[in-house]
Symmetry: C2
Subunit: 341 residues, 2 copies
């Protein structure tokens, strides 16, 4: 039938190209995917037809048969946190370099959100998932991994088929930060922990590192120096205000993350304390803001190769269905700046 009743799509298809080039769809497919196995004359005709029609492969149709979408799901607590924003940026860069695309989803630490994110992403047949932990998502992870979905879990250890775990050495990083402060002659170090993680099942790795550092230096932990609040600027401010109000002496602060450190600095400044002269301070995560502050904030930098490592781990899972790889540690590095120099 020469006259098609249906409204033709504006976008040319493989068959349109084939017709114009007077070859089969199979041959066009070979050219498009650079498979070789066609003569120079045919190649020229096909290329010409592609140019004339403005043909673009439909990746949906391709994915339906190859079972590879080229889409990876990135699941995070929230991008509003600068630490996660910077990570999202890195994952985006690595994905782009590898010709992959990212569907982005936030779970905001709500268990229900994790469930629907899994539903949605797996219905799009994503090639895999890279996800940051939300409490209580273990069941959903296991279920979808068992169904064949490769999942790279970050900062959560789970040994199961089709699941890879990358885990930052947070405890070690915390220990090195506190050891650094001790080495600078500070001995009364406030530890600002995360109130929320204290409530969760996760062990407080920063606090453990803090304790080990003191122990290694032959010091005992003074419980009055350990405070916990929200992992935000406001939380840091409140935490330091409470320590100041308690009248306990201190000469350094190790904060749960950089935002907490910023809040601590605010509270210290308001109280007339000078940094680092009166109080040295070290944050955690080493977000971009650290270097821009005055004084610049020392911090524990998490391995920013995590993007590459995550996609590598995904590759391994994809090429070895059912594999249950060992957890991979991600290194941490103390970055010393003026706030504790």
């Amino acid at each position: 039938m020469l006259f098609n009743v249906r409204v033709p799509h504006p976008n040319a298809t493989l068959n349109d190209v084939a017709r114009l080039a007077r070859v089969s769809a199979r041959t066009v497919s070979r050219v498009v995917n650079d498979e070789g196995g066609f003569g120079p004359e045919v190649l020229a005709r096909v290329q010409d037809a592609i140019a004339k029609t403005g043909y673009r492969p439909n990746r949906l149709a391709r994915a339906l048969v190859t079972r590879r979408t080229g889409i990876v799901g990135l699941v995070m607590p929230n991008v509003t946190d600068p630490y996660f924003a910077e990570l999202a940026d890195e994952f985006q860069t690595v994905a782009q370099n590898r010709g992959l695309n990212l569907i982005f989803a936030q779970h905001r630490n709500e268990v229900a959100a994790v469930g629907s994110i899994f539903e949605t992403l797996s219905s799009f047949a994503v090639d895999g998932l890279i996800m940051y932990t939300a409490k209580g998502n273990v069941t959903a992870v296991l279920e979808h991994a068992a169904g064949g979905l490769p999942i790279v879990l970050i900062d959560q250890v789970l040994e199961a088929p089709n699941v890879a775990s990358l885990c930052s050495t947070i405890g070690e990083g915390a220990e090195s930060a506190v050891t650094h402060l001790l080495g600078r002659g500070r001995s009364r170090i406030v530890m600002i922990g995360n109130q929320q993680s204290a409530l969760s099942a996760l062990t407080p790795r920063r606090e453990n590192g803090y304790q080990r550092a003191l122990h290694n230096a032959g010091l005992v932990v003074d419980g009055r120096l350990i405070v916990r609040d929200d992992p935000t600027i406001e939380g840091g401010r409140r935490a330091i205000e409470s320590v100041l109000a308690s009248g306990v002496e201190f000469d350094a602060v190790f904060a749960y993350n950089d935002l907490v450190a910023v809040g601590a600095i605010q509270a210290l400044s308001s109280a007339g304390k000078r940094i680092p002269d009166d109080v040295a301070i070290v944050g955690f995560d080493d977000i971009n803001l650290c270097a821009a502050l005055v004084p610049a904030l020392s911090s524990v930098r998490l391995n920013r190769e995590v993007g590459i490592q995550a996609f590598d781990a995904l590759d391994v899972l994809q090429n070895n269905p059912g594999l249950s790889p060992l957890p991979v540690p991600l290194s941490t590095e103390l970055v010393i700046r003026a706030s504790s120099g």
Copy 2:
């Protein structure tokens, strides 16, 4: 043929369900999409079969025929900027509420990146694009819009079929900020502009607003008070340092954005200036950080309904192919806090 040689997919399909429920695929489709037109007994059998097989619709296959993927492309300069991170968060929330998913891409203000982003996203047959401007992307936008892709452009005006423009009233916001400072008795107001946008084709809307506010107050612009640098903390610091070094008197600062304001505050504090006593300051964008600073930073809040407006605009474009809607203004609102109180 009862025995299939191919390895069966772990995931059940519509046909698997149909076979088990002893109905046609068409009927299962009706149930899954809640189209009605089936008896209660059939419904029960199908639901049962869906439960037994763990069937999940394959959205790729559905999209291939419906020509709706449920995926929208979100294109931004970069998420590392807290302003865009907060916007990404908002778009994400609205998308989730509407049952849509976001493929996320950053162009980092590189023209080449915009081109490849368009290629990729349109090959996935996304339902539409929401994008923040990169200089020189007009051709690519027009080309893909002409091809039928609905595009919502934010902070860039372009009248073309299948393109909607949402544009913040940045000039008005700037004007209100400066008028507010004048009303607080400040008359020597430093304007920190963006060096980069000065070089681009975009008119410096904040600077225009600044000038209008002074003009309305019967004041003349002192060119020595207008400085330009990068839109970053460091840029703000450098800008104020240069003004301080020049010896020109000033009693207020209006900054290109909040990060610039933070840098300005740092430079002012280092110089022993008190805020707002010696120098009042107003930022732009009203990122979350503003409220957390001490003193809290006044800022111009851009309409944070932009998420809803963008998706609404996309809806309109999708339902009216070829439409070239009028640009929609997005309101701005001055948020007064301690830094200029």
